[in-house]
Every structure is written in structure tokens, then in C-alpha cells.
């Protein structure tokens, strides 16, 4: 993706203006989730769907520009993005006064203002053992004194009242953070919805059921929740006045959004009705019949909706009948990579010996990625060529780390290393022992489709494969414990920085996010070096080297990066997909 000119600040907070109309409660946006959410306590949830809600209910310190590509951080509840101190470990945030929480019985009828102490509480809460937050990794080990506080809690409730050096509210509106060591990704982390401010009295009032009572300072608040089926958000009456004022006219999309939205108050839509629809047919039919306003385009419907160029996945157009209805197509490449990891500790597939590398390389070369992109992805994906995908800081668009599909070469390579074809038609290990790949997958229909292509790949190089199907949680467990042969994986950026991807192969992350259980001294050294640098050409060079090391050792078979096609109805205004935000509800308008 070509680099584009950064867009000027998009959102400007201004004072009260009686002429502007706030959210119209009669404007209802119908949106869809493809999988059930789990809850709305920002500390407790980590999935995309739950985060889509918390993103709209809670305010982190920082946020992203809606139109800037690649994504650009902007202040949210603070006056400015702070400068790092000289030792690059201290940050001071100034919270804007006059930001209020949504009304809730826990406030006993009083308007409750957002303060620095709320953020301090929120951050500490992520580390609280009794919360069991899946996002604790975001704060643990980062802030001075926090780990000691956690250790003191001994698995019990954290003592929030003991001040710690790392997270301090200097006064009502000033928050100071002190880091244990410089952390390049920190500002991105501070923009994540998991770190959106919660009010301590609310959390304490709802005890264990905080998932059902999200109370934040964001544009929306929860009105109704039928878990796994339906969620209703309504505009937060206490939300501060923000007027859309986009100044970017560099792309047609930015121009359109600016002309549609400028001058209006955020948010425009009074109610957001979200249905959970897991099956693709009903989702697609519901959108076609106008029951949904914004919807992702389900894979199977691609042929119905889009005109494709089989040679170039970048080129698509809406079908004329859809266009005639005024349906709008928006597209983006996800900030994700998919891959198939080898378990580098597996006695058959793992290890850094040449014969093992050759085996993995042969498997990688036998998988026809182009075919799956064409058949399964319906041309809506591009092959992964680097650990770090496009639109993420550190991405090298010239990197070609993927091995081209070449089953003939794969076979020859296996012959070279003594993987002989046995009497049963399958290859054996060089030592004569039988060779079988333990491949774990999920039991879904789409999973089966992928397995069929993998089966074909293994058949071509005459290697026996056993698919071991298990539920999601069992898969995770098996992978974490390095007790498998091969498994599929996908990583969606938590924040748009290369560090978030490079860590996937870092040796110390085995048992955490290093699915491949890969440990290479060369890679680890490069990674540790990259940690000390910000986004810079220097760091990019390190990333390139890491890509090459990984390509050589082959702990992964590279997969693809999907396009996300969004369709919106004729009456939807101001919609554009964002690389980091899960949803754009607060940025859109409806004009029927």
C-alpha cells in the first residue's frame, strides 16, 4: 500500500452549541455480529464482538483518526499526546475536564465526571487477580510497582488504595505513568478499548456481574442485552459535544465522508441494534432484504454481490443490481496474517536440523495458497509474504518470504533428505520410522473445506496426515502445551505496530502467543534489539532480517490476509472501514 499523506486532525472537541442537533433517537442503525459476544466489562472481554461494544461505551486515553491511513493516534480524553521523558519511561496525561459518565443508578443521580483516578483504577484493575483479565498482559510488567502490588494480593483482591509509583493520579485531571522499561507499543496499548475508563463505584456496585453493566464516558450506553442474540445501544445523554470536522480530502472516500458528516454532532445515530447471526445465509438475506444497515459481506455471497477480477484480488466492483439499489461497498485489507504453524518441539516436524527444515519446507511448498484464495476466499485475500502485514508499522511491501507453490520441488527435496516412499505409498522418516503429521483442526464445515485442500497437499508429497478435530478451547490448550504437529492460526493486530506481530515467534512467548513453540537464538536476538527502537528504518531492517530467519527455519506455512468487504445501505452516511476500530457506528449517520 502506498504511503499517503497523513490527514490532519479529524475530530475537534468544542464547547456547547445549541444549534447542533444531538443524536436522533429515531435513527436506528441495524448491525450484525457473526459470533456471540461474551460481555461488556472491558477488563474481562477480549473478543472482537465484545470489544466492538466496549469501544463505543468506554473511552481510552487515546484514539485513532477515523480517516487517516495507516491508522494514526489522536488524543481522546486527554488534551494532547504526551511527550516521553528523557529516559523514555515517564508519561504525563492531562484529562480534559467536563467529561461525564453515562447515567447509572450507581451514581445515585449525580453527574459523575471522569478523573485521572478513574484511569489509575482501570489500569490497576486489569492486573487484579480476582478479575482474571485476559488483558492483564497489557499492564503486567510495564508499570513500576504494579507487579509487586499484584504479588502482595497473592491471588486475592488487589489493594487499589495503596499508591504505586507506576500509575499515579497527580491531581484530579493529571495522570502519570512510569514504565519499568521503554515500551514502543505503549501508546497504541493506551488506545485499546480494554483500557477505557471505568468508574470504581460502578464496578463495585455490580460485583461479579460487571459484564452486563458497562458504564463509561463513550458515545453509547447499553440499553438491552440478550446474550448471544441481540444488543441494543443508545446514545449516551452525558456524552461530550464532539463535532465532525474532517479536513482530509485526499481520497475520494475521505472526501465523501467529510462532505456527508462535517458539522454534525457525534453520534448521529440514536440507537444501534445489533443482531448476532452466525449462519451466513440468514445474514446475507437479512442484509439484502434491508433488515441490516451495515454488514460484512459473507464469503459465500461474494459471487452474488461483486464483480471480480480473477487475476487481481484488489479489483472488485459491486454488481449492477446492488449498485442500482444504492448499496455502498467499502473495502479494506485486514491487519492480520493467517498461517499454519508447525510445532517446533514436535519429534517428527520440529527442530532446527536440516532434514526437519526440509520436511517443513516441502509441506509449505505443497500447499496451493492461490487455489484456496480463489476457491475458499473467493479471491478476497492476498498471500501473506511477511510476518508483518500491510497497514502495520514496520511492514515491508517488498518482502517475499513465502515459498512458491511447487510440489515437484517439494518431492525432490524430500527425496534428497531420505524421506523414502514406503511400500504403503507414504513417505517414512529418514531413520525408517513411519511419518505421519498430526494436524489439529476445528470441526466446522469451513474447517473441513480447508482440510480437504491440506489433504490434497499432503497427498502430493505422499505424506500421511491425521486430522485431529477438537473444539476451540481444546485446540488452544493443545497448542499452548506444544502437543501437536500442525495447526492453523491467525493473528489480528491488537494495535498497528510490527511489534505486535514480531512477538509471535519470540522464544520467550512459547506457551503464550508463540504457537509454533519456535525458539531461535538469532530471531530472539533480533527481536530483543527491535524492542529498544521506535518505528524507524533501523527497526524495519531488523524486521526484514527476522522475516528471513523465520523463512529459513520455516516454523510457519504462510497463509493469506483477507479483504474485508463491507456493504452499507443507500441511506448510510459517513461509513468507512477502519484498520483498528472494530465498528464505525459512532461515526455514521442515517438519512432515509
Amino acid at each position: 500500500m502506498s504511503m499517503k499523506r497523513h490527514v490532519a486532525m479529524a475530530l475537534v472537541a468544542i464547547g456547547c452549541s445549541p444549534l447542533l442537533h444531538a443524536a436522533d433517537m429515531n435513527k436506528v442503525l441495524h448491525a450484525v455480529f457473526n459470533a456471540p459476544e461474551t460481555g461488556f466489562d472491558p477488563a474481562k472481554v477480549s473478543d472482537v464482538y465484545s470489544s466492538s461494544i466496549t469501544e463505543n461505551v468506554f473511552d481510552p486515553l487515546l484514539t485513532y483518526d477515523y480517516l487517516a491511513r495507516p491508522a494514526k493516534l489522536v488524543p481522546n480524553t486527554v488534551t494532547a499526546i504526551p511527550q516521553l521523558s528523557a529516559d523514555r519511561t515517564t508519561l504525563v496525561f492531562h484529562i480534559k475536564p467536563g467529561i461525564y459518565f453515562a447515567p447509572d443508578p450507581a451514581f445515585k443521580g449525580k453527574k459523575r465526571e471522569l478523573t485521572a483516578a478513574d484511569y489509575a483504577y482501570t489500569f490497576k484493575r486489569l492486573a487484579d487477580p480476582t478479575v482474571g483479565s485476559p488483558s492483564s498482559y497489557l499492564v503486567r510488567g510495564r508499570f513500576v510497582g504494579l507487579d509487586a502490588l499484584v504479588a502482595k494480593a497473592k491471588g486475592g483482591k488487589l489493594d487499589y488504595d495503596t499508591p504505586i509509583e507506576g500509575i499515579r493520579a497527580l491531581d484530579r485531571y493529571t495522570l502519570q505513568l512510569k514504565l519499568t522499561e521503554p515500551a514502543p507499543g505503549l501508546l497504541y496499548i493506551l488506545a485499546m478499548p480494554h483500557l477505557g475508563a471505568v468508574a470504581r463505584e460502578v464496578i463495585e456496585a455490580y460485583g461479579t456481574n460487571t459484564n452486563a453493566h458497562p458504564v463509561g464516558t463513550g458515545p453509547y450506553m447499553l440499553a438491552d442485552w440478550k446474550p448471544g442474540n441481540h444488543i441494543t445501544l443508545v446514545a449516551n445523554p452525558n456524552f461530550r459535544k464532539i463535532i465532525f470536522n474532517y479536513t482530509d480530502n485526499s481520497t475520494p472516500e475521505a472526501h465523501r465522508v467529510a462532505s456527508e458528516m462535517n458539522g454534525k454532532l457525534m453520534p448521529q445515530v440514536g440507537r444501534v441494534e445489533i443482531s448476532v447471526i452466525q449462519e451466513e445465509q440468514p445474514q446475507w438475506l437479512a442484509f439484502r432484504s434491508g433488515q441490516l444497515d451495515i454488514s460484512g459481506l459473507p464469503q459465500p455471497a461474494v459471487r452474488n454481490a461483486l464483480i471480480l477480477d480473477p487475476k487481481n484480488p484488489w479489483r472488485v466492483a459491486l454488481k449492477p443490481d446492488m449498485k442500482a439499489k444504492g448499496i455502498q461497498l467499502s473495502r479494506k485489507l485486514d491487519t492480520e496474517i493467517t498461517f499454519y504453524s508447525f510445532n517446533m518441539k514436535d519429534p517428527v516436524l520440529g527442530g532446527l536440523g536440516k532434514d526437519k527444515i526440509a520436511l517443513r519446507r516441502a509441506i509449505a511448498m505443497s500447499f496451493n495458497n492461490e487455489e484456496t484464495i480463489k476457491d475458499i476466499r473467493r479471491n478476497q485475500a492476498v498471500p501473506v509474504q511477511s510476518i508483518i502485514p500491510a497497514d502495520v508499522a514496520g511492514h515491508n511491501p517488498g518482502m517475499r518470504a513465502k515459498y512458491p507453490y511447487n510440489p515437484a520441488l517439494a518431492n525432490a527435496l524430500l527425496d534428497k533428505f531420505g524421506y523414502k516412499i514406503g511400500p504403503n505409498g507414504y513417505r517414512t522418516q529418514p531413520n525408517g520410522k513411519p511419518l505421519a503429521v498430526d494436524f489439529i483442526t476445528d470441526p466446522s464445515a469451513i474447517g473441513k473445506q480447508w482440510n480437504e485442500y491440506w489433504q490434497k497437499a499432503f497427498d502430493q508429497i505422499k505424506i500421511k496426515v491425521n486430522f485431529r478435530m477438537m473444539l476451540w478451547n481444546e485446540q488452544v490448550k493443545t497448542i499452548r502445551e506444544c502437543k501437536y504437529g500442525m495447526a492453523g492460526g491467525a493473528w489480528l493486530a491488537d494495535y498497528p505496530d510490527g511489534d505486535n506481530f514480531a512477538m509471535l515467534l519470540y522464544g520467550k512467548n512459547i506457551g503464550d502467543s508463540n504457537n509454533a513453540c519456535y525458539q531461535s537464538p538469532r530471531y530472539d536476538a533480533l527481536y530483543e534489539a527491535s524492542q529498544k527502537l521506535g518505528d524507524s528504518p533501523e527497526r524495519n531492517r531488523l524486521f526484514d532480517q527476522m522475516d528471513k530467519v523465520a523463512a529459513g527455519d520455516t516454523p510457519w506455512v504462510y497463509g493469506d490476509t483477507r479483504f474485508r468487504n463491507f456493504l452499507s445501505q443507500r441511506w448510510v452516511r459517513g461509513f468507512v472501514p477502519h484498520p483498528v476500530f472494530n465498528v464505525a457506528w459512532r461515526f455514521v449517520d442515517i438519512q432515509k
Binding site: Q281, L471, D512
Partner: protein, 312 residues
Amino acid sequence: MSAYIIRRILQMIPTLFGVMLLVFTLFTLVGGDPTYILAGKHLTAEVLANLRAQLGLDKTLPEQFMIFVRQVLTLDFGTSWSTQQPVSDIISTRIGPSLTLTGSMMIVDLLIAIPLAAAVAYFRGGLTDRIVTIACTVAMSISALVYIIAGQYFLAYRMEMFPVRGWGDSLLTNLLVYVPLPLLMGLMVSLGPDIRFYRSFFLEEMNHDYVRTARAKGLSEKTVMLKHVLRNAMIPVVTTVMMSLPFLMIGALVLESFFGIPGMGNEVVMAVNKSDFPVIKAVTIYIALATMLFNLLADLVYKLIDPRVQLK
């Protein structure tokens, strides 16, 4: 009578215990580990340990089973591991939609199937009988999935006769707007076998001697059929229906997922996929209890409508 009821209720205890043992074994010993779902993308041993402690998974199995026993005795299953909502809330909000669909389905089914079955049985052996029987057989031979997939595509989307999916807040809206299509699909599946089933009840009764007596009295065929045969044939019908009532609670899984009905079927699948043990336990125990109670109730109703029955 009361002695009978008390004894039957006492007999439920070992069955319930068996159900508990079965569910506990299936899900605790061999089921998935829910902590891996709750822990998110970045797992650390510490997070897993904390979660385990919170969920009570660090306790020994006998301890966990005792907790289960206590939950069953108090009928309080705590909160869902996945959403942390009280299980009682989840079940009470889920049961309504399921019953709205399955209940109306059952009522419409009975209203259509019984008269049709009686009519077909009356013309037994004739052309009408054969056509209806074969039509029912063909109808029931098509997979429910085909009905749902094709019905949603053609009736709702192409012909716009119904909304594609959805669920409202008021019972009336649901019944008038959202229920008809899934109801129709459900009926396509259930009517065939039910008509055949009820027809066999009618036929069976028509072979009894009392029908001959009724004819010998000079009663018209209509009276014989509608008074004497119907009343007797309703006995097995009512009992079968009573026995099936508890399973209305669990809803119609595929219908629910295709038509976006927030019912129990969806919830159960979601719970199993997420190893949400409290919800699974609660649903199983409630259904098991309902099954047993409805079996008892079926026997009592049986006694009520069939004077021959003696409760022992």
C-alpha cells in the same frame, strides 16, 4: 394417589443423581477446559491459574461434585462462566422464545395432524389414505435442513412473504411476524410423521370390539368416529404429547440459529462450545426434572382420561 405421587417423586432422586453423574463425568472429566476460552489471546500460567480458582476448577473432583449437588438442591447454578450472567436469568430469558416457537408449533401441529389423521384413518385403505400416507412419507423424508435453507431463501428472501429472520420484544409481534416462517418449516418436518403416528392410534382403536357395539346400537359412522373412537385414540395422543412437553423447552436448535430466535437451543450449543459448565448443568438438570415431572403428570393425566388406569 398421594402415596403414589410421593413414591414417584422419591424415585426421581436416583434418576436425578444418575443424570448428575452423567453430566458431571462428561463435562468435567472429558470435556473441554473453559479457562482457555476465557483467558483470551495472551495466556499466562498465572492468568489460567487465577481463572481456575475463580471457576472452582482447582478443587478436587469430589468437592466439585458436592458443589454440583448443592447447586441442584438449591436450584441455583451461579453465573455463566462465559458471560458471567446469572444462569437463572439466562434460562428464564431463553425459555420464552423457545416455547413461543415450539409451543405454537406443537399446537398448530396438533390442530392439523389430529383431524387429518382421523380423516385418513376413516378412509383407511382407500385412495385418500394412500395418497396422504405417501405424501407424509415423502414430506418426512426430506431433511429438515433443506426445508429451512430453501424456505428461508425462497419464501422469505425471493418472495418476501416473511421476514428473513429476527425476533421482537412483544409476544404478539413474534407470533405474527417472526414465528410464521420457522413454524411453517417446523411443521413441514413434524406433520408427516405425526399424521402417520396418530393415524395408527385411530386405526388401532377402530379395530376394537366396542366400535362394533356402537355400530350395533345404530350409531352413525360419524358418531362412532368422533365420539367413541376419538375419545379413546386421544389417550395415546395426549400421553405422547405430554411426554414431549419437556423437550419443547430445549427448543429447535437449527430453526433458532437460522431464524435468529434467542432460544435455549442456541444457548445450549453456545454453552457446549464454550464449555460453559454452569449453563449446561442447569439446562440438563432442569430438563431432566421437567422430563420426570411431566412423565408423572402424563401418568396422572392418563389416569384422568382413561378410567381403566390404576396408579400403582
